[in-house]
Amino acid sequence: MLLFRSEEHVERWCRAWSLPRGATLSPESAWQLARVWYSADRRARAWRRRTVDETEALLAGLGLTGPFWALR
């Protein structure tokens, strides 16, 4: 995941790499996603990866729904 100065720069990068445009978030939304995603202490014995259901719920809780954000 990369940071760009603007949507125009995203479009330019996609053309240069011949990649379809993916999904974009504002820096603030990406920060909120990271805060929630990395909220658990990975040094803790009880830490484990989220299940698919848990991850989908996390994404949905941030409004990240639809085919791009689907995990299956």
Binding site: M1, L2, L33, Y38
Partner: protein, 151 residues
Amino acid sequence: MDGDDDDLDFRVRAAVYDGVMTGGAAPLVDELAAQLGLARERVAAALERLAAGRALVLQRDSREVLMANPFSAVPTPFAVRAAGKLYYGNCIWDAFGIPAVLGADVRIDCSCGCCGEAMSLAVTGDALEPIDGVVHFAIPAHRWWDDIVFN
């Protein structure tokens, strides 16, 4: 996996994260073995299990730690400075993950993925200071682990 492996894997995972969080660098296999008083082979096997479970990402050939998300064990274009230490994120999402994990104020120095113009972001008091920009996710979520290094 038996209970002994579970315990070993936890100890290795915790030691890796302790290393990156306190020192800014991921410990090498030999360093982990010395720190934990374990044979190198047992540490290497634990790292392989952790990688298979997607708890860590290992370097392709050396099998040293490459990623202990959100931290990168090697320098990347996403430099994160906190409390006088330098960390690296694997991508902009992981760069944001570092202040989340550390609970610290940070400055993130990176650049526009298109033109290379320097971009600097700051997280202060659990808030991202306003900045113009767009975060682009090139790969749909169900394919994130197809090539986690590219992603």
